[in-house]
């Protein structure tokens, strides 16, 4: 069978090189190598170091996809070097591959980056169980399989940083906690043994750290090598804020609620009305743009909105299916 045949093909690698203590600017080194169908990306990194340039630097440890040390980017795609098969990379991108660290601006030496911001944010969400544990309990503290399922595999995170450095908001806003920290927060929020539920949620809700600043781009879900799906956990945290009564009124929470109100009234969105509801008096800052859009026929007044047909069905469903309160 063909799956047992080892094949070889030539690949051109463009490899990011930089030594922060010597180089003024980074540069790319080109290597052409014969790659076999048996190899993973880490094998290529090893061969570059062992056969071509001993000064080439990268992190590696477990070689089993659990330590998270070897995460890098191939053609912009975050990947765990020890887990990613070269054949799959060639299938995705062809025979010209660019190897880069997870974050170029945090590069220290070649693939090695300073992950300080990642760990700082990770620590800030109190990534541990907070619980009054009896020293000599009389019974086991049982967690049922159903309760454990609530973690939604958030506990599979290996802190590799792939999602954090794929997140566009982390690049723009240094206060933003990032997808890994939020997924970790969810992991403890969803744990029935944790007693700090409310406190942690309240902290996450503070604007500066940006639980509401996620742009919903799904880069984190795409980047995660363990299928943790961080954006799903961010959505769950949003829902928790409402269901636990922790959500306070801010532009983001009002905006989420405005969707329900508008749908109940029109079936569709009342775009102008929603911005007014979400922004409150801050609406004034949108006036210049609103005028410009109005003159171009881009704003429909509430009385001009084409409501959904069979609107009574929608009203009925909103009344009977809505579970959230604010």
């Amino acid at each position: 069978m063909s799956t047992h045949t080892i094949t070889t093909q030539q690949v051109n690698f463009k490899v990011f090189r930089f030594n922060a203590s010597e180089d003024y600017l980074p540069y790319y080194e080109n290597y052409t190598m014969e790659v076999t169908s048996e190899e993973v990306v880490l094998d290529i990194l090893n061969r570059i170091k062992w056969e071509l340039d001993g000064s080439f630097s990268y992190r590696r440890s477990c070689r089993h996809g659990i330590c998270g040390a070897c995460a890098i980017k191939v053609n912009g795609r975050s990947t765990l070097a020890c887990k990613e098969r070269m054949n799959d990379m060639i299938e995705l991108f062809g025979n010209e591959l660019t190897i880069e660290p997870l974050s170029i601006k945090r590069a220290v030496k070649d693939m090695i980056i300073d992950k300080g911001d990642f760990w700082q944010k990770h620590d800030a969400i109190h990534p541990y169980l907070i619980s009054d544990v009896q020293e000599h309990p009389e019974h086991e503290h049982l967690v049922t399989p159903k309760e454990a399922e609530e973690l939604l595999e958030a506990d599979l995170c290996i802190q590799c940083g792939a999602c954090h450095y794929a997140c566009p908001v982390v690049e723009v806003n240094s206060d933003f906690f990032g997808p890994a920290a939020f997924a970790k927060a969810y992991r403890f929020e969803a744990d029935v043994r944790d007693d700090a539920h409310h406190e942690r949620l309240q902290e996450l809700h503070k604007e500066k750290q940006g639980l509401w600043d996620c742009v919903k781009c799904f880069e984190c879900a795409e980047a995660c090598p363990k299928d943790v799906n961080p954006i799903d956990k961010i959505t769950k945290l949003h829902q928790m804020l409402f269901s636990e009564g922790v959500a306070t009124s801010n532009v983001a929470t009002r905006h989420a609620v405005a969707f329900k109100n508008s749908i109940a009234k029109f079936g569709v969105l009342d775009e102008g009305g929603m911005i007014l509801y979400s922004e409150g008096t801050s609406i004034v800052k949108h006036i210049p743009l609103a005028i410009k859009m109005f003159t171009k026929g881009k704003i429909v007044p509430p009385w001009g909105i084409t409501k959904s047909e069979n609107l009574d069905e929608i009203k009925k469903l909103v009344a009977s299916s809505s579970t959230a309160k604010f």
Partner: protein, 293 residues
């Protein structure tokens, strides 16, 4: 060949802040010989915001929209990336969780509807690539866009999460190296511009709560297209269009440099190539002047 017929879920934006997209969708469909049945009963998809607040309600409402497409026995075509995401996500969750599907159907039963899972949900871009084909589209071009460098802007919710997105269309898309929009540009006779930001986020969804983040992301996209000699940009998503077209002054301020490019909806680009009139394509609704027509 049998005439193509789809159930069209316009979403809210095409009926309000991007009327040019609504018009050009119908103009292009006529040229391509596609019959569109507009789902006038449909509600808003929740745009990933209702999902933050009331997940179950969003599932029920989206299942209702799909149920109407199913009643017509048609594939549902979307023209907004975020509608595509939320509708396809609903379908995926219901088709893979019979308990959840039953719960949703209990609600739909109250209004005499049922979600079955029989209609595919596909964005217009992929529908025409799959069902008409790029070669055929190329043959239909009457005004090749050969003098233009066109920068594709894909929009997140058509390409990520890729596992979900690739369920709806035959042409697999690599979110790190997407091809569909580039290929459509080439089929229209244009030169597709390669630039780093083409598959990145425009920041639309945090425009209210994080205006700076939002403006920087959009600003970098326009700047990236300009730096690679684009004459204009094209996008399949009306939300990306709103970010890129309507507030270039904010974007310029956020990234500290003057930027602006005309931005077309994919339907408008296709319409130009297929010989639709400028009136049909609604260019007068653009904020950034479409200066080349």
């Amino acid at each position: 060949m049998k005439k193509l017929k789809y159930a069209l879920f316009t979403g809210c934006t095409a009926k309000q802040s991007t009327p040019e997209q609504y018009m050009s969708t119908f103009a292009v469909a006529e040229k391509l010989g596609i019959e569109l049945v507009e789902l006038v009963e449909a509600s808003c998809c929740g745009a990933s915001h209702l999902q933050d607040y009331d997940d179950f309600l969003s599932l029920v409402l989206n299942a209702r929209n799909i149920a109407y497409a199913e009643k017509h026995g048609l594939t549902m075509v979307t023209i907004c990336n975020t509608c595509q995401l939320n509708t396809a996500m609903t379908k995926h969750r219901l088709d893979n969780n019979s308990e959840l599907k039953e719960k949703v159907n209990e609600k739909l039963k109250e209004v005499g509807l049922e979600y079955k899972g029989t209609s595919n949900i596909i964005h217009f871009l992929y529908a025409i690539i799959d069902d008409i084909g790029l070669d055929k589209i190329k043959e239909m071009v009457v005004t090749p866009l050969s003098q233009f460098n066109i920068a594709p802007f894909y929009g997140c919710h058509n390409i990520r999460p890729s596992e979900l997105q690739n369920e709806s269309h035959k042409t697999a898309e690599n979110p790190y190296n997407p091809r569909s929009l580039d290929d459509l540009i080439i089929a229209c006779g244009g030169n597709s511009v390669d630039y780093v930001e083409k598959n990145k986020c425009c920041g639309f969804h945090v425009e209210l709560q994080a205006p700076h983040t939002s403006a920087v992301l959009s600003g970098k996209a326009v700047a990236g297209a300009m730096d690679n000699n684009a004459d204009w940009m094209v996008t399949p998503c009306p939300l990306c269009h709103l970010k890129l077209d309507t507030q270039t002054n904010h974007l310029s301020e956020a990234i500290g440099r003057e930027i602006a490019l005309p931005v077309l909806h994919m339907q408008q680009m296709l319409g130009l190539a297929l010989g639709c009139s400028n009136e049909q394509l609604g260019f007068k609704h653009h904020i950034e002047k479409v200066n080349f027509i």
